[in-house]
Amino acid sequence: MKFERNFLLAAVALAALVPLAAYNEYALHIGIMIMFSVMLATSLNLIVGYVGEFPLGHTAFFGIGAYSAALLSARLGLPIYFTIPLAGIVAAISGLAIGAVTLRLRGPFFVIVTLCFAEVLRLVANNWIDLTNGPMGVSGIAKPPSIAGASGVQQKLWFYYAGLVLAAASLLVSYRFVYSNIGRAAVAVRENRFVAQSIGIWPFYLGLITFVLAAAVGGLAGGFYAHYISYVGPEVFGFSFMITMIIMVLAGGKGTLAGPVVGAVLVVFLEEYLRDFKDLRFSIFGLIVVGVVIFLPRGLMGFIGRRHESYERRPAESAKGGVKRDRRAPALEPAGLNRGGAADA
């Protein structure tokens, strides 16, 4: 808990200083993509890591957020300060609706039905031409007026800090959530649903709260994306965003808050460095994921957290547990109870 908090604080502080060292358009663009990815990965991780289900259609919320922001901005002319929060709210409401249906299912059924929702939304975006402009998408989404006349690098700087604020806010809310009573109860459900019920937890309700929060974070990411790219098309509901999210969460370590942050940084950098390999890029990506699943099944942060704790544990044991400590290992599903199994498939 402490380790995680310090790690996240350090990461945010470091990120705030980065533009001092790398003040050019390319570096800031990478930074912005990292902020955006951190939000996406945090959002997916809330469900994969804390509900223990695997929503293969999680892009639905990202897409809903992106389209909401795009339409609110392009059609109604709302400024960015309203569209991005509204994107989060619209996504949260649809999370409530979709979660209320899908969370009654578990395992593979949940995976398939969430995927169906994303696919249906993609088809809607593609075909409801009056609203979404179909495959042409919504373009010309306004940048904030304060940077209208600014140079490219200044615009990027604005988006970088806006992304940092949004990502930090998402992480803060997730942190408060995970370490609240509700978050602990969610872990209890993930580890053993029946026992959780035996102490009076209602798993469906917990899952729904987590789902809505994850949807809201995903929606914020979508709104931010829409304004930064200034174009939104049906591909926001597509599978490629989903794959990126999965890799970030798995590589970083599901069920930890720091994991998705590390995963996001890793994946964005890898994507850039692997550009030279062109078509081979995704094959190499795939190999990396296979390697991670085999050698670090709990992800990078799961691995580091483990090490960290085994060093920490020894003195405590010799003190006979008299020291008050709040230690929490990242998710370890006991054998046979691995509800996140789909994630490894």
Binding site: R184, Q197, S198, I199, G200, W202, V323, R328, A331, L332
Partner: protein
């Protein structure tokens, strides 16, 4: 009159797993403040009965009355709030959480912090071994300590009726005596206990009455003393 003293009553309860019927219309009554044991071989339906009472399985027909009110279709979390705590089989604690966290999660549905704190203290008094291990991961405890933790966690919800599924499973005789002793004390404090056991003798040593299950039916009932004194019954149904 009788309805008032019965804290729990099963009426003609049937429970099915899909098409397989696990309980064929069982009837039983449990009075306030007693310890009742459910005996029987594997697959006789004892654990199924407990799961049906705590709401984890929905009855196909029949009724479950708790303090005179039907709880047959109630949600499991609300049943816990009503005062029935279920400590499931194989002592499923959360191995990756500390003993303290396991216990405090037990008070999940208790909104009153000071009351939860009070229960926490009384659980630690009951099981002093747990106090020594508060900040250890629960997975590192011995089997007996895990069982104590599971019972302690169930007590954190402040139950009136405690359902225990095989509390002595896999414990050394000494440890299981310690656990059973704790049950006797709990009963003296006024908690009604329904216990499922394979080990007939240890079950009958704490219980005042027992029901014998066979293939989803209740085939015998009586006071613990009668059961122990009736070698035919023991041999016929339990192979003891």
């Amino acid at each position: 009159m009788n309805a008032q003293t019965n804290i729990l009553e099963l009426r003609n309860l049937e429970v099915c797993y899909g098409k397989l019927r696990a309980l064929n219309g069982i009837n039983l009554q449990i009075r306030e403040g007693e310890i009742v044991a459910l005996l029987g071989a594997n697959g006789a339906g004892k654990s199924t009965a407990l799961r049906a009472i705590s709401g984890l399985l929905a009855p196909a027909s029949g009724d479950i009355l708790y303090c005179g009110k039907s709880i047959a279709k109630r949600r499991p979390d609300l049943i816990v709030r009503d005062g029935i705590a279920h400590s499931p089989e194989e002592r499923h604690i959360w191995p990756e959480l500390s003993v303290r966290e396991n216990l405090s999660l037990g008070a999940y549905c208790c909104p009153d912090r000071s009351l939860a704190e009070q229960r926490f203290e009384s659980v630690l008094q009951r099981f002093p071994r747990l106090r020594e291990r508060l900040s250890q991961l629960a997975g590192l405890l011995s089997g007996g300590e895990q069982q104590m933790l599971a019972i302690g966690r169930a007590l954190m919800s402040g139950p009136k009726l405690l359902l225990l599924d095989e509390p002595s499973l896999g414990l050394s005789p000494l440890m299981s005596q310690e656990v059973l002793g704790a049950l006797r004390e709990l009963c003296q404090q006024g908690i009604t206990i329904l216990i499922v056991e394979q080990n007939v003798h240890s079950a009958l040593s704490v219980a005042s009455r027992a029901y014998v299950f066979e293939t989803g039916r209740v085939v015998g009932e009586g006071s613990a003393a009668d059961m122990l004194g009736n070698p035919d019954l023991l041999r016929a149904y339990l192979g003891a």
